[in-house]
């Protein structure tokens, strides 16, 4: 009797982390698989989540030392865009769209530049001064650096 219950506990202890890991994979698809990328010349340092949100909602136009930023995003229905906005920014894609629309159609701000796919995103960020965007992983292309989001 005693031996059996001890065994049961052991198997529960073993399976708990596995179950947790399984659920984490299920509920956070691609967690940790989005990086904020920037043009190599942009002097911005690491970003807070708040700062990243302000850049991508187009409410902050420049880095602390005055470098203007230019924001690139993927279409609303792109899965990388959805993962990036949820995981990195903590916003649903439709919320971003609402903020941009509000600004664009009331004259109080602008919308970011939308590019077709991740490849074009990487190309545009590498070649546009002040550009920031995002990618699945560190791009194998020169002219780009990663901005850490703390």
């Amino acid at each position: 009797m005693h031996a059996r219950s001890a065994l049961t506990i052991t198997s529960t202890q073993l399976s708990l982390p596995i179950v947790l890991a399984f659920w984490l994979i299920l509920i956070c698809p691609g967690a940790g698989a989005q990086e904020v990328i920037a043009n190599d010349d942009l002097q911005c340092g690491a970003l807070t989540q708040n700062q990243a949100r302000l850049f991508f909602t187009m409410r902050l136009q420049a880095c602390p030392d005055g470098d203007p930023v230019k924001v690139f995003v993927l279409p609303d229905d792109n899965s990388l865009h959805a993962d990036f906005s949820k995981v990195v920014l903590g916003l649903f894609p439709y919320q971003l769209r609402q903020v941009w629309d509000r600004q664009v159609y009331s004259g109080t701000g602008q919308a970011p530049t939308t590019v077709r796919d991740e490849q074009e995103m990487i190309e545009r960020v590498a070649t546009t001064p002040g550009a920031i965007g995002y990618a699945r992983s560190r791009p194998r292309r020169s002219g780009i650096k990663l901005l850490e989001v703390r």
Binding site: Q51, P68, G90, F92, V104, Y105, G107
Partner: protein
């Protein structure tokens, strides 16, 4: 604009337009954006006229907008939009400047922002006023009418003046405050709504409009709470010698809205409560001096079955006078000329929206109405002909770029 004000504006623009030394992003056309939208609706009602000859089928609800914005520097944005709006007998589609402004950022950091908007600025009132004519930015073909009256939209739509805005971003959430003063851009619909007629003479704002709004949002912007307020006095200048007019009266109007919104992954819940204290003075016998408080509230849920398909359900109630919700006093006061159900509207609306792609959207909507408070007297001049219970069907197709 008087010269001291013009000088201040010029100085501010110059200050904001200072060239940015390092790494100015690209060419000027790179920082110019042009956007626009167009929509066409079909409207049918069982009774009463709403946006044209709706008891037949009305196509007289068209919205077209074209805007341009130029981020001259990180601290200066110039923006303007032209709006063409056809709305039954209320608007005939004459192009109008919707907004035209210079937005000057004085302070901008990850912790705060302070700035100034000069020119014709859309009033930040409630969740939807700023972009109320852009179909993509609000659920439903028609906004909740008890808060966002279409029969008298211009009084609170925008103002020519200045708005100061300040934002605070912190771990506890974001606070946003705007305070503005300017001249309201008003039209004949204002006279129809507040004097129930089109008398010989001119309606003009007697004072500048004061505006203020305070918003709190959580960091992830799931929860949004707001208070917004506007105050204005409109005056009537009768045509000399005209038999069909009233005295040189004034109407004082305040308009306050409390707003709530919660955004979840696939649903959004919104609710707003609006109060509108009104004072009529000095028009003479046909319009006795009196006070009333207009009131309206709604609860609206949207559910996104898929990212491109949304369902909307809304219930709203509005009253011409919060102290006379049954409208009986109104009926008695008018000697029976105004039926009591013109004093309220209770509306249940259901709608379906499909975003076909980022540029095209279609939606359909049904509303059951009890009461005629939201109807325009301009479209339904004989109030006794209005029917208390009526159905509204509408469909809309909208495009944007």
């Amino acid at each position: 604009m008087r010269s001291p004000q013009a000088l201040i504006v010029a100085a501010l623009l110059l200050a904001a337009a200072r060239p940015v030394p390092a790494a100015d992003t690209g060419d000027w056309w790179d920082r110019l954006q042009v956007h626009g939208f167009a929509s066409q609706a079909l409207v049918h009602t069982s009774e009463n006229r709403w946006f044209g000859d709706s008891p037949e089928v009305s196509y007289e609800f068209t919205e077209i907008g074209l805007n341009a914005s130029w981020r001259v520097t990180p601290r200066l944005l110039l923006a303007g939009q032209v709006l063409v709006r056809r709305a039954g007998d209320m608007y005939d589609g004459t192009p109008a400047l919707d907004y035209g402004l210079a937005d000057i950022t004085l302070i901008s950091s990850p912790a705060k922002r302070l700035g100034l908007r000069l020119g014709r600025v859309k009033n930040q009132l409630g969740l939807y006023n700023e972009t109320r004519d852009v179909p993509f930015t609000h659920p439903g073909i028609f906004l909740p009418q008890v808060v966002y009256f279409d029969r008298v939209r211009n009084l609170i739509l925008s103002s020519d003046g200045a708005v100061v805005y300040g934002d605070l971003y912190s771990d506890a959430g974001n606070l946003s405050l705007t305070v503005g003063n300017g001249r309201s851009v008003i039209d004949e619909n204002v006279e129809w709504a507040y004097l129930n007629n089109d008398f010989d003479g001119d309606v003009t704002p007697d004072t500048n409009t004061w505006l203020a709004s305070l918003w709190y949002t959580t960091r992830n912007e799931r929860l949004k709470l707001g208070l917004s307020w506007a105050s204005v006095r409109i005056g009537f200048e009768p045509d000399a010698g005209s038999p069909f007019t009233v005295g040189p009266g004034t109407t004082d109007l305040d308009y306050g809205v409390a707003s709530f919104q919660y955004n979840a992954a696939d649903w959004t819940l919104s609710a707003e409560y609006a109060r509108e204290p009104l004072k009529w003075r000095g028009y003479g016998p046909p319009i006795p001096d009196r006070d009333a408080t207009g009131e309206g509230w709604y609860l609206q849920g949207t559910y996104r079955i898929r990212p491109d398909i949304g369902l909307m359900l809304r219930y709203e109630e509005g009253f011409a006078n919060a102290d006379d919700r049954s409208g009986r006093e109104l009926e008695a006061l008018s000697g029976g000329l105004i039926p009591r159900y013109a004093g309220f509207s209770k509306i249940l609306t259901a709608g379906l929206r499909w975003d076909i792609n980022p540029h095209w959207m279609v939606r359909v909507e049904y509303a059951y109405n009890d009461g005629t408070f939201i109807l325009s007297a301009r479209e339904n001049p004989d109030l006794r002909d209005q029917k208390r219970y009526w159905n509204l069907f509408s469909a809309q197709v909208a495009f944007r770029f």
